[in-house]
Symmetry: D2
Subunit: 300 residues, 4 copies
Amino acid sequence: MEDDVIHKGTPSQAGVHRTYEESLLRRRGEILERVRQGYEHWKQTGVYGVPQWLYGPPKGKLFQVACEDVPGFGDTSYLEFDAGRTALVSIDWQVDFCGEHGYVDVMGYSLDNTANPLKYAARALRDARLAGLLVLHCREGHVPDLSDCPYNKILRSKIIGKNAVGIGETPAGGLGPLLVRGSLSWGIVKEVEPVSGELIVDKAGKGAALVSDFFLTLQNAGITHLILCGITTDVCVHTIMRQANDLGYWCMLLKDATGATDMGNHEAAIKMVKMQGGVFGWVSDSVRLHAGLSAAGLIE
Amino acid sequence: MEDDVIHKGTPSQAGVHRTYEESLLRRRGEILERVRQGYEHWKQTGVYGVPQWLYGPPKGKLFQVACEDVPGFGDTSYLEFDAGRTALVSIDWQVDFCGEHGYVDVMGYSLDNTANPLKYAARALRDARLAGLLVLHCREGHVPDLSDCPYNKILRSKIIGKNAVGIGETPAGGLGPLLVRGSLSWGIVKEVEPVSGELIVDKAGKGAALVSDFFLTLQNAGITHLILCGITTDVCVHTIMRQANDLGYWCMLLKDATGATDMGNHEAAIKMVKMQGGVFGWVSDSVRLHAGLSAAGLIE
Amino acid sequence: MEDDVIHKGTPSQAGVHRTYEESLLRRRGEILERVRQGYEHWKQTGVYGVPQWLYGPPKGKLFQVACEDVPGFGDTSYLEFDAGRTALVSIDWQVDFCGEHGYVDVMGYSLDNTANPLKYAARALRDARLAGLLVLHCREGHVPDLSDCPYNKILRSKIIGKNAVGIGETPAGGLGPLLVRGSLSWGIVKEVEPVSGELIVDKAGKGAALVSDFFLTLQNAGITHLILCGITTDVCVHTIMRQANDLGYWCMLLKDATGATDMGNHEAAIKMVKMQGGVFGWVSDSVRLHAGLSAAGLIE
Amino acid sequence: MEDDVIHKGTPSQAGVHRTYEESLLRRRGEILERVRQGYEHWKQTGVYGVPQWLYGPPKGKLFQVACEDVPGFGDTSYLEFDAGRTALVSIDWQVDFCGEHGYVDVMGYSLDNTANPLKYAARALRDARLAGLLVLHCREGHVPDLSDCPYNKILRSKIIGKNAVGIGETPAGGLGPLLVRGSLSWGIVKEVEPVSGELIVDKAGKGAALVSDFFLTLQNAGITHLILCGITTDVCVHTIMRQANDLGYWCMLLKDATGATDMGNHEAAIKMVKMQGGVFGWVSDSVRLHAGLSAAGLIE
């Protein structure tokens, strides 16, 4: 009957508030109680535990990795992972960043700083594969017509590049145009190349947000925790870590499996993560990752 | 020793490929095998089941809701939810869209179409609350200086608005500036206003992606499945549903708890969801939601 | 000297407010004054003009296209474009959506609805090329390992697909796996294929936001106005149009150069755009686009 | 006639390619020619010019600011701005980051490093206001129920916080809950508080992408160039700069108008920007900004 029909909605002062006082007290209280429990757990065990109230029961085996300088410098704590929800993210190990005649080489930086961590990254990859973690590789690069590359990025690369060779151009002795998808110079180097069944995400930028399908891919795979390695520490690795951290991913950086064009910047990038109790996440290395996976029986 | 130092990475043809032949066969094979299992499950039970291989063991009780015209018109199937990972999303029930002197009223549309579904939305809200589902309200609106509102959106609203009153202006008899955060006209109406502990997300657009923190909020809450109601069906509800669907959220629209300024558009918006076996998700209603929650013992 | 050192910042009640009363009055006032001017211009000329106060002086020739049912049904207005800031966006004209043994064909829909608009799209493309507009093609599809495709999308496609063939699988007589990048079935059809110098953006979803580099590409090209054609009207075309509209792009849909699997949905999708004075933008067709480009001397 | 009807699209090998050989040669050639011209201009003038072929004729006066260590360390170049397309972005000058009993103070860091740059930021703000640049303030903070704050962020803040006080809690002597919108502790400090007509964007994270409407707001205002100041250099300022840079914004950091909790990190953050010819943009200071605005007659 007609009486049942609602002809218009009723204004409400309450509906205008951002949140309601009660709501504020109740929901904030609930989350802060969860945090208090996580804090107590950490106090008793030194472990930043996987929050099962949030993600549900584990999908895989749990394992813990020792992290340095957390919560404060000089301290050690442990970050807990669910093997079924963890991805090893291997970032931008491309000729362009660690090989001859690539983008970094053309700018005149020594390749030692970016190439040498390859051996630690290779160990982390081997362990992650044995443990059955998801492995995801990233590549920075642009489509061949450069339409996904900002003009000022190309310009700056040309101005700094040896002989004025920048993105989209091939240097003398080079393996193809710099930072262009499909170019051999843009490919991932042999030492850490993807193997069967591993994911690859292409990024049109240093970071991943708004310039790639990286976060879509993580979401499709049900991932909550990331273990990061790659190059360069202060540029692509850091930018991705910052973005993932803002979205709530638990990010652990393997400091020996990363490198930068400048050692001071590498060291500073590591330290920056550790500020404020881990402002972008946690710092560990390939040795402690190995130990953590071993202790959990995920690898021998 | 020096021999241990890697001085540069080694180019690899393999590292250039988008994916490797093996990888393609292996990983695609794995996902297609999961899909085959989900398909067999559906064939035997008529249920689109929660994929535990992806999300892990359930966090809450599972429940199933009958959905219409899926996979084809005339068919009925069931969508399964995990109560611990499901949110009821109640969209834009603001004076501006269903109340007097609001944005929609000023444009001359009858409010019956957008206001009447309030009673079904109120039922869905009541049931969701009893069942302990997360409830999240959205509001479309702009900051008071309109800096998050595109110029052409304001212009079009002024041109169509009665007496040339558009977004940011207060109509005769109005409750405040249209679509402006903090205005009583922008508030959620009494019939479905948020209660203690419920979330509110403000959107500077019809959709949520790139104009709100909606997806961040869902991710923080560990949500995988959405039950959608609100107004208007073809504009805000549909835009949010499309975006959530692209990101892999399982979206079920409650057709009786939605409405549009035009009944034909409302009906078409419902039908659009059902094309292609559910191109944007599933369609059900508040009665079937009630039945599904009851059958699972989540409400009496 | 020491007196110059600021040791700490000073709390301020003002710094807490979302916006300040004055700010609200001033900045909102400024934008509403711009809107008032745009409104007066429209009243006098019937033209939604390019806002030079916002974008600066024109980069190219200005042209105007007649749009139907705007601001109200039965009305005609004109949308103004800057040829130097306009892109024709040609969406998802792939075998999978309008060719034999593609994704849409396998689901049993007639191809006439999606294929026939090709001739109007071809005309729009020809005119856009002659006029020197940027042309950008989109393709929906997933990487070969399907890691950027949500599980539920694949599952639904398999359940509705003839012989249970879904995304990532090759149907009998098919040209390759459905909706997979690199497959012939995923390619753009001959009638409207890209020519030299045109852009292509690949999308891992119906829409573009968060599943592609579409908006990055537009920004790199300095685009403010979009002319949209493609398939299907109610799915990919509409989703992209909604997202672009939320971000402030001026979007005009060529209704004869779009099509859907269902004619009713096609018609409704067109009508939805026209509600609320053009809630997602403007509607025109290839004939009026031609006339507008001719009148401006951009084509003969 | 029937012959006119297209019943299906025609597969094309060409439509499958990512880009076409010709396209690659033509479009990439076009952009590289633009880059070559920009490079020649820089070689002759030392100026990274505003690309009018991309943005169109200037909206406002052009001005140039001297930048240090660009393209290489020891070099000086000039970055050109269009006053009509430039925003001064003033980041996170909140009590929580530079005032007593705020988030940073509670973690035990000295406030000198983050508070002292306020005087230089105040100068930059004054100059930007006089010159008529858009001024946009950012604030990091979370809605009162913390639903937009990742659990691990709150947990880490509690573990590092003095007396285990973290985000959402009020420390002894504090001005309100830490990092919560509406709290006095979260407000912008008096020294650089917004004035009438200035924009404010709230961010639910260190960065802006996917956690705020920052980029929407820039796009609505027609901005292409950013001048950045604020705190902390290595966290929020850097994260926003990285994201804006990936999207093609021209970003210049005012090094004296930024600060960090650790001086070494501050210095490293500055240096990181300068690598690779300006990998995230340009570095200058408030004095050189003043000089550049003066030279252009934008201020006296």
